[in-house]
């Protein structure tokens, strides 16, 4: 590994660590600077002032905010201790671990669809720029990212699950999943995954298609493409190998940029499809005022985005030496 590469890795990782700390701090202060405190909303209104004070000191809420912040940060960063969930009466980390993998499954499938469909449609539009195909793809992608995802989810459920029962109506698996063989269980989960992942992925594919088209069109106007054409390379090879590789850098950045959108979308999709993931957990925890969990999931999704951006950055650095400077 060259020294510029190593320096690049270290710089980017340090920046990401700093961002994670900023994200953690923001989350803490959002929740704690808001009017009211957890004991007020959580507890029975019939509690006396004394009882409430006792509770506040038990949760450490009577200490100065700065002290609370430091001890919370210390517990989170050094011990991985996010506190105890009020509702689940278990460590928050345990609860989150249980809800994290359905979200990872959903967002990974969503990402695959987003980039599969988005890149395909974007490249097709760019290759036929100005043609009716191009106009159709541009309009369709604009409509895709203008649709409210909760509504598309409901309509998909209505049409493809109730009216024409191709897909199960939400949830992670069938009720009788426990009695199925391991392979059948996996197939069952994939069957349940298909519709929410399509709703999530196709909505995000709109933006990707548009961005890919524009980045690619810019590359296709460059001199080296004319050279490649002059060499007699096939158009397919020129677009997919030469131009797309150079358009890869902005598209990689797009991955980092769209990650927050994808996670927000996943929250809504999880609620609509009763998908037991982090979004659904956040939603339920807000309803039940389970602050430690809300704090953890909010911070965690922020950290996921930081990591996603870091990966995109590093891949960009690997692909393009100019980015390492």
């Amino acid at each position: 590994m060259s020294s510029t590469m190593l320096g690049f890795l270290i710089r980017r990782s340090a920046a990401a660590v700093l961002l994670v700390l900023i994200v953690l701090s923001f989350t803490f202060f959002f929740i704690h600077l808001a009017p009211g405190d957890p004991t007020l909303v959580l507890q029975d209104p019939r509690l006396t002032g004394e009882q409430r004070d006792a509770m506040r000191s038990a949760y450490g809420l009577d200490r100065p905010l700065a002290a609370q912040y430091l001890s919370w940060l210390k517990a989170v960063v050094l011990e991985g201790d996010w506190g105890i969930s009020f509702v689940h009466s278990r460590p928050v980390t345990e609860v989150i671990a249980e809800y994290a993998w359905p979200t990872l499954l959903l967002t990974t499938a969503g990402l695959l669809i987003q980039f599969g469909v988005g890149l395909g449609a974007g490249v097709t539009a760019a290759r036929h720029a100005g043609s009716p195909t191009d106009h159709l793809i541009r309009l369709a992608s604009m409509v895709a990212y203008s649709l409210p995802i909760f509504w598309t989810g409901l309509m998909a459920l209505l049409l493809l699950s109730y009216d024409w029962p191709l897909f199960p109506p939400g949830h992670l698996q069938s009720i009788d999943a426990a009695s199925l063989s391991p392979l059948a269980r996996k197939v069952d989960i994939l069957h349940h995954l298909a519709l929410p992942a399509l709703v999530l992925g196709l909505a995000a594919a709109g933006g990707t298609a548009r961005f890919t088209r524009n980045s690619l069109l810019e590359e296709l106007g460059q001199d080296y493409i004319r050279t490649a054409r002059a060499k007699g390379l096939t158009e397919r090879r020129i677009v997919w190998v030469h131009a797309l590789r150079n358009a890869a850098a902005p598209i990689l950045q797009l991955f980092g940029l769209t990650l927050p959108l994808l996670l927000s979308g996943a929250l809504v999709v999880e609620v609509v499809f009763s998908w037991p993931g982090l979004g659904r957990l956040t939603f339920d925890s807000i309803l039940s005022r389970d602050y430690p969990v809300v704090l953890a999931t909010t911070a965690l999704t922020g950290i996921l985005v930081v990591l996603g951006n870091l990966v995109a950055d590093l891949l960009h650095g690997v692909a393009d030496p100019r980015a390492r400077q």
């Binding site: 203008s146 909760f150 409901l154 209505l158 548009r210 980045s215 704090l295 909010t298 999704t301």
Partner: protein, 338 residues
């Protein structure tokens, strides 16, 4: 005045962006004129029993009752013994004195429920029009707030420079890492939610991109000759900002704000759908879809039509913003809407 107009916003020329402008104008007109265009008030339950879940294009005879309510019937006929009413699939004869007025005219005139009714018998078309007021107003005001905050933070960062610039931009970077819906939900969960709170929360979580844009524009404008000249003749920095920097930095930022309106309408809708935005019975397109979600299989129209209204509004503002951007500078790279 020493200034050069580097950008000028023109009316977009492409047919699609004109279509966007047209839809946006039509929706605004419908929202403003809701009391004229809506056949009913948004909360009016004409007949909670027989008016429930009427499918689109249903028509009913509406008879005014003595107690102020309405009775919806499939058909009605005035006879000597009373009014023969066909209602909920059954015929019954009701005495004349139950009605406030029964004339040949209001027995034969039928009321049309264009987009059907919801579970309380409220007219969906009317609620969509009144909901347009709420959804569009929130979108516009939140976009205005985000524009103001974006100018304040971006302007401060660009003008101050040094560590203040660094600090503000790290702050922006950090905020941009949160998926918006998680952030907005975590914040709204702490408040008593009313319309103002929704606007404040949405506006105060969506200014980051605008602030980056303002900062970048001002940093590039600052080195331009007319600004250097303005500094040279000894104008006060605040005056230079207001008279020379801001007016020239504004056009691209305003266009970004147009695109942001669609985005904010979508987030408001999602927030209201989840129950943390506009609270019922005030109609917003998002909470109307939520209303319909629980009756999806019995009455698809309750959820379907408000969703179409959201799509129309968002597509309109996106088309408009795109067209404005293209007319500002045909060569700008189209960015990703986020």
């Amino acid at each position: 005045m020493i200034a050069d107009r580097t950008h000028r916003i023109r009316l977009p020329r492409s047919p699609l962006s004109r279509l966007g402008l047209l839809i946006a104008a039509a929706l605004s007109a419908l929202a403003i004129g809701a009391p004229i265009f809506a056949p009913q008030a948004p909360y009016e339950q004409m007949d909670p029993v027989a008016g429930r879940f009427l499918p689109p294009f249903s028509s009913r005879v509406a008879l005014p009752l003595q107690d102020g309510g309405w009775l919806l019937a499939e058909s009605a006929e005035v006879t000597e013994t009373g009014v023969v009413v066909r209602r909920l699939g059954q015929s019954e004869t009701l005495p004349l004195d139950r009605f406030a007025s029964v004339s040949e005219d209001n027995v034969s005139r039928r009321r049309i429920f264009l987009l059907g009714t919801d579970k309380y018998g409220r007219d969906i078309w009317s609620r969509i029009l009144y909901g347009a007021r709420v959804s569009l107003l929130i979108g516009l005001l939140a976009a205005g707030l985000s524009l103001t905050l974006g100018i304040a933070v971006g302007g401060a960062a660009a003008l101050a420079g040094g560590w203040i610039d660094g600090l503000l931009m790290r702050f922006v970077d950090g905020l941009l890492m949160f998926p918006r819906l998680f952030l907005v939900l975590a914040i709204t969960a702490m408040f008593e939610i009313d319309l103002l709170a929704v606007i404040l929360v949405l506006g105060s979580t969506s200014w980051m991109a605008a602030s980056r844009l303002v900062r970048a524009e001002i940093l590039s404008l600052r080195e331009r000759d007319f600004v250097v000249a303005a500094r040279g003749v000894g104008l006060h920095p605040i005056r230079i900002f207001w008279r020379h920097l801001l007016p020239n930095a504004l056009p691209p930022v305003l266009i970004d704000t147009t695109l942001r309106i669609g985005d904010l309408i979508l987030i408001e809708a999602a927030l209201s759908f989840l129950g943390f935005g506009v609270q019922p019975p005030i109609p917003s397109w998002g909470n109307m879809v939520a209303d319909g979600a629980s009756a999806l299989t019995t009455a698809w129209w309750v959820a379907a039509f408000p969703g179409i209204a959201i799509c129309l509004a968002v597509v309109a503002f996106n088309l408009l913003g795109d067209g404005l951007r293209d007319s500002l500078d045909p060569h700008t790279e189209e960015g990703f809407p986020c």
